[in-house]
Amino acid sequence: MKGGALLFRAVLAGCLGVLILAPELFIGLFRWLNRPDAPPIYPYDSLLWLTVSHLGLVLIATSAGAIVAIAAAIFVTRPSGAEFLPLSRVLTNTGQTFPPVAVLALAVPAVGFGVAPTLIALFLYGLLPIFENSVAGLQRVPEQITEAADGMGMTAGQRLRKVDLPLALPLIVEGIKIAMVINIGTATIGSTVAAKGLGEVIIAGLLSDNMAFILHGGLIVGLMAVLFYDLMGYFENFLKRRLGLTGSGD
């Protein structure tokens, strides 16, 4: 990575750290945005705690989504499950087109307020990108390679573990990256049903017309998404290089 790009990322990461751990450093900016009588920094909860809780929700829901999506992708790309591929596509796509607010509204009567409806919504949003990418990755394993694996006497399970999954991994990781980024943003609406997260700061800002809160919460969420996307991109490229997919290895 070039020096300039590295410096830019370091600055972004530094800003994120300050916004979470020492927002007082930006107090001048926040004060300038607000009416003089409004608090410039969210006073009701520690931002570190909100960030941890926010990321925790995203991680739990996306991991669960990843497990289900990858398992489903494996199933529909085996000969025995091939007929379920179109159906499963419809299901995951429907999950995605449902507005998140509607998912919450439907989930709350069933599971109550708090963490549960938010996890359900985030789980559903993570499914589609991970499923689609995993299916594409598994289908794109070159036929010569699968034929060689079969021809040498690998069982179906051995081929899956030793050949299909490792070769599909870059695309699966990309799917997880997309799901995480979507969910880091989407998790903010969890605060409308009382799940702890950074949405709380933004919503408080909207309700009390506090520009500083909105900007503060929004910046943390946005920076986390951008930095996470970037980091996973590097991981993906590393995997692709390992597999010789980019040509120039070392």
Binding site: P142, Q144, I145, E147, A148, A149, D150, G151, M152, G153, M154, T155, Q158, K162, V163, P166, L167, R242, L243, G244, L245, G247, G249, D250
Partner: protein, 312 residues
């Protein structure tokens, strides 16, 4: 010894392989030729059951291949395909070790075998063992593919157009390496190719397929001189059949005693075709035949040479 008994493969209404019966001699190379779509690959893949036959049986040393679990059968049969199919995320050494690993060989035995094969294929282990396939040239990848197919010391090796993607120089080298290795290990090989020169160069037996049927099967000389089907002559080509015939014979077998003082020398390992080329190039009427140590085996005259290319 492989016996193919009345084997057919039918896809819907498409007959890919049509009642093929043949016996393959052990320790020999059988080459299957035929036009595209004639069922060569299908027949080959039925031997290791990548494709289940619609009817018929295939026996290896008297044992019906259908009586073994498919994975066990395949681990005992080497398989090399065009474009090699190497695993891109495995090192060269791990690629070669695939089947020994599946068979649960001890680590030391696997390492020894990998090193032996790399050396045999002119890929020094210290340089190549830890490389990844994408770091190799096409010719090197192909050699690793064949080494991998031979790793578990199979008695039988199936090859589907293994040299199809190589340039002519590398291809000739790969063919000679294969002949060396076949002689050294005594492996039986069934090889599919489009290239008739390759078929004549490698094959002890040549099988000709047309629209799923086996229309001819015999030694290269028989195929050339006594074709059982017009399609065979079409495939072998009639224009240069005399030269093809001469390419199957070695100078060593035609040297006769005679006065060769002052005559130019030719190595005994030369084929008659290559010897003829030398005669033409150097304007010879007679040549002295010598072995690799320069010892004289006899002589051959231009007339004697030409007689060997004549219709039998």
């Amino acid at each position: 010894m492989i016996t193919i008994e009345d084997v057919s493969k039918i896809y819907g209404t498409m007959v890919a392989v049509d009642h093929v019966s043949m016996s393959l001699e052990p320790n020999s190379i059988t080459v299957i030729v035929g036009t595209s779509g004639s069922g060569k690959s299908t027949l080959l893949r039925m031997i290791n059951r990548l494709i289940p036959p619609t009817s018929g049986r295939i026996l290896i040393n008297g044992l019906d291949t259908a009586s073994l679990p498919a994975t066990e059968l395949r681990r005992r049969i080497g398989y090399a395909i065009q474009g090699h199919g190497l695993f891109p995320h495995y090192t060269v050494a791990d690629n070669i070790a695939t089947v020994p690993n599946l068979l649960g060989w001890p680590k030391a035995r696997i390492a020894g075998r990998v090193e032996e094969l790399l050396t045999l294929f002119h890929l020094p282990p210290e340089t190549f063992a830890h490389k990844y396939p994408h770091q190799l040239s096409g010719g090197q990848q192909q050699r690793v593919g064949v080494a991998r197919a031979l790793a578990a010391e199979p008695e039988l090796l199936l090859m589907d157009e293994p040299f199809g993607a190589l340039d002519p120089v590398i291809r000739a080298k790969a063919q000679d390496d294969l002949l060396d290795i076949q002689r050294r290990f005594g492996t039986s090989i069934v090889l599919v190719t489009h290239d008739m020169d390759e078929a004549f160069h490698l094959g002890h037996r040549i099988a000709v397929m047309k629209q799923g049927k086996l229309v001819d099967f015999g030694s290269p000389t028989t195929i050339l001189t006594e074709p059982k089907d017009p399609f065979t002559s079409q495939l072998t080509g009639t224009l240069d059949r005399s030269l093809k015939l001469m390419s199957l014979k070695q100078l060593a077998d035609f040297a006769v005693p005679g006065d060769t003082i002052g005559a130019e020398t030719l190595p005994a390992t030369l084929s008659l075709r290559d010897a003829l080329a030398e005669f033409v190039w150097r304007g010879l009427k007679v040549a002295s035949v010598v072995d690799s140590d320069g010892r004289q085996l006899g002589q051959i005259t231009l007339d004697a040479l030409l007689a060997q290319g004549r219709r039998p």
